[in-house]
Symmetry: C2
Subunit: 567 residues, 2 copies
């Protein structure tokens, strides 16, 4: 009897196959009881545990808490990777980092949009209705926010979410680069891709919301930054506000003519001294450097971070002017104080422990940057210190009065980031109008520069001479933030409204600021806003804290007080 070589080989392979098979089966995880005591998925009921881990009579809600904790962890990891991306990552890690971030964003989305999340939420709601006494206001709000997050994700495909994360981080880098190269063609291709993606996502989200056909996709995008926001309401608010501003602005400019021009503040101001100043100011404001920091980035700043790790990024590369990086630090610092003040001990990672979205975020940033950071008393505090730091003792340009005059000078310019407190609105309004056109398809990307230049000329009388001071100046569209811009002006309004309430509760704010004592202000914000997380929705929070829903009146009053009464 003979066997061909081929047969022998297959026989050998068959034997090997058996061997492998039996090995693989034997290698399946054994359900052996380990001797080590391991923590239960969540610890037993204990009043001293953070609310995130406290047992709840509804097991479905308990499951949801653990799932959302993991979602929150993934989000925190993405934030940490993103901060690293902006501040420390080696340049050569760029491409693989994009893959890592977008992979994790996809995983996070898949966890969030899993089908059984819907039934868990539904069953938890049933429990809430049947046993309302088992649900305190935080748990109820948390469950509600879980539902909101689920709704934001459930209709969008994982592929789209992965691509969105990828393009968003790619966009940061591309924006940094086009600011240097001024290459519109490079920008245009990327923006087109980003807008197509955003529109597709928006359309997935608003399939069932056909009330406002043309603008529904834009509204869907906007709601990611301002949950529940209605375009009609914003249009009304912005329309009224613009009317009042159109009336106010010429009066301010007329009055300003009577005053001398501020003395120009001349540099150079070394970048390291600027960073030192900005860090010191944030420390004085109460920012906790044990849980965060302030870093220079080559990119445009993007707010973010988590309560445990709030790394703020700004640019200090402009040595001709220290006031710009200072403004940026105060602005990001306002975001950072909000983030650090969230209810992390009890609700870290849970939806209810997060901030209320972009409008409230911007209210906290602009309250510090524009409202408090431009008070005369703030400059009384700042002036002697910058005189010392930059070795300009006796320099009139560094007097409190001149710093104040410089920062409250009203003059429409080409750059949003350097805009005064009044013309800032026109920048924001123009951008939201353009991005609505882009998303609705009324404006082609190729026509953006012309449209931009025409719009900006209307209120500045000037035209950009390059893209970096024109339609490419902001990072937002590059990182996919369509629908974000309105939150700046909404936040500004909120900031004025909140500040009014704060002044009611703290009578001597000017004296405190002048003495560099920001603690009462931060404590007030902490108690009334930051520590609330998402326990209230935005309008309810405003009603609770200020006694009324969002209104533009306090901002108009503030602007009149500061820019007209000073005459």
């Amino acid at each position: 009897m003979t066997f061909s070589l081929k047969f022998l080989t297959s026989f050998k392979n068959w034997l090997l196959g058996l061997f492998n098979k039996s090995w693989l089966l034997s290698a399946f995880p054994q359900k052996k009881k380990t001797q080590l005591k391991l923590p239960a998925p969540y610890p037993e009921t204990d009043e001293n545990l953070p609310k995130q881990y406290q047992n709840h009579p509804c097991p479905n809600y308990m499951d949801l808490k653990m799932r959302f904790r993991d979602v929150g962890r993934m989000n925190a990891i993405i934030e940490a990777l993103g901060r690293d991306f902006l501040t420390a990552m080696p340049e050569g890690a760029y491409k693989s980092r994009l893959g890592q971030i977008s992979f994790l964003a996809r995983r996070m989305h898949e966890d969030l949009a899993a089908q059984d999340v819907a039934s868990l939420i539904e069953r938890a709601h049933t429990h809430e209705r049947k046993c309302p006494s088992d649900w305190d206001e935080w748990d109820s709000a948390n469950l509600h926010e879980m539902e909101v997050m689920y709704r934001h994700h459930c209709k969008v495909s994982p592929d789209l979410m992965e691509k969105r994360a990828h393009l968003s981080y790619e966009g940061r880098r591309r924006h940094r680069d086009v600011l240097k190269t001024n290459d519109w063609n490079a920008a245009q291709g990327f923006l087109q891709e980003m807008i197509d993606l955003q529109r597709t996502i928006a359309e997935s989200k608003c399939l069932r919301d056909n009330n406002h056909k043309t603008e529904a996709p834009y509204q869907a995008l906007m709601r990611e930054y301002m949950p529940g926001a209605r375009l009609e309401e914003i249009d009304k608010l912005f329309g009224d506000f613009k009317e009042k501003l159109d009336h106010l602005l010429p009066r301010v400019l007329e009055q300003q003519k009577q005053q001398a021009e501020p003395i120009e503040i001349e540099g150079p101001f070394p970048a390291d001294l600027q960073l030192n100043l900005n860090k010191s100011l944030l420390k004085v404001l109460g920012f906790d450097f044990n849980r965060g920091g302030l870093y220079e980035t080559g990119h445009n700043p993007v707010e973010g971070g988590t309560p445990d790790d709030t790394r703020l990024v700004i640019k200090t590369s402009n040595t001709a002017n220290f006031l710009n990086s200072l403004k940026s630090a105060l602005h990001e610092g306002g975001h950072g104080l909000y983030i650090q003040g969230l209810p992390r001990d009890q609700w870290r990672y849970q939806p209810v422990g997060q901030d209320l979205g972009a409008a409230v975020q911007e209210s906290q940033a602009l309250l510090i940057d524009m409202i408090i950071g431009r008070m005369p008393e703030f400059f009384n505090y700042l002036s002697p210190r910058v005189e010392g730091l930059f070795q300009r003792l006796g320099d009139e340009a560094f007097s409190a009065q001149n710093l104040y005059n410089t920062k409250t000078r009203v003059q429409a310019g080409l750059l949003r980031r350097e805009a005064d407190e009044i013309t800032y609105f026109y920048h924001v309004n123009m951008r939201q109008s353009l991005e609505r056109d882009l998303i609705a398809g009324r404006l082609a990307v190729k026509d953006l520069p012309d449209a931009w230049n025409a719009e900006v000329k209307k209120f500045t009388g000037k035209e950009p001479t390059n893209y970096a001071e024109g339609c490419l100046q902001d990072v937002h569209w590059f990182v996919g933030k369509f629908g974000y811009f309105p939150s700046y002006s909404l936040g500004h309004m909120m900031a004025a409204q909140i500040f009014k309430a704060m002044k009611r509760d703290i009578q001597n704010i000017p004296e405190l600021i002048q003495a560099g004592n920001f603690k009462p202000v931060l404590d007030w914000l902490g108690t009334n806003i930051h520590s609330k997380g998402r326990m209230f929705r935005t309008q309810a929070l405003l009603e609770d804290v200020t006694g009324s829903r969002l209104s533009a009146t306090p901002l108009i009053n503030h602007l009149e007080d500061r820019y007209l009464a000073a005459a």
Copy 2:
């Protein structure tokens, strides 16, 4: 007909329930075709694609490639978070970062140990046997390494893996702290917890490997660092080597007596200058700073990183002596050059694209640090440059001869990290013996300091006066690296064997080193070792490159040449 209030309320709730239900159902993801063109899960066959993405006739293997890509991404994310942890993370983020890393480690493990991975591997093996011509040597090696990784994970529970990651990062911080506080009690409790965990993991792994009952758990741990290593072989190798060293050492010491003591090199050497020197040297060695960097850490160095992001960490805090941080930089640099040289373009994230484990890692580190970095010609290159950097022109202590004498002085001391090339082995041998006793339960943690001190006295004649120069000096046990120590001496042997082969291929190595031209050396390592990834297993690689399996003879010859022939 009347209804009680209670009935009305439940009716209302029932109605609301219906409403919620229908909303939730309608909110299920829609399988709508998006208009956007998205990339396929993996791109179509294309010769120009990296091998990771190239289509393969076996769909199960293709699936495995995508799964292991994601596992690799998770690993790379953990590495990035870990580098951040060691260099930049705010202190207050510590606890939540531990949670994030261990959560991700759990997820990675769950992906790896999923039951269908076993069947995918099995089916891919079947395909490999049936259609061997479809499998090139890289694909076959990749599949084999997938199996090895699966085996390492499949028997261990997710809870254990999560806890392991948690304790391992907690251990880095705890080690940093106990070095300062010298608090044995704090260390003991933690080490006990870590050893219990490691033993439990080891026992899960070796359930079916009862050949060597007492030592099987230790061997299982060791194999994570040196896949396939056999304890018997290592015992034999170490036993023979020790015998030869016991004979060599007294001869070296006897001869050394005839020579003058090296002139002491006195500091201070500012930390920033040390870091500058170390970075410059790594650059000269060929380390790519575009894909990595060298950072100061308050912790003990732990090697790591990925080919795209190789951030090395060392301590430069000792200003009295620049040679220690330089040694550390050369050592970590050797690891870094290996990592950066892995086949990332073709096999990024795939098992076959990874390094060969701790022993080969250490061979690359010790080749740079101990073998090349202590050649007389290296000091000829270094001497004038450090004279310049530290402004010591004409200082005899900085002469090449004195630097060489200093770094080749043989004298058994208490610290492994500062040990000379000969007594280094005794440090390693003693540690592996102690950790075997710890894992096997023959030595209680509470008795470790006494056991350590007794052992170290045998070959140094000295006893530690504190734990930091005694049993707490190394970070390894704190990060759970039980079974790692043998790889130092195995790596040292490999390094000598590899260097011998390199000298066969490159005749003028001393001249090249003296001229600071490391390119031919790095190119040789890149071609013969680094770029091979895991295409060969360790012994096969050694046979391929050096013509024989691992042997201690080249190292003995090297030590005789350097420490006896110089007489």
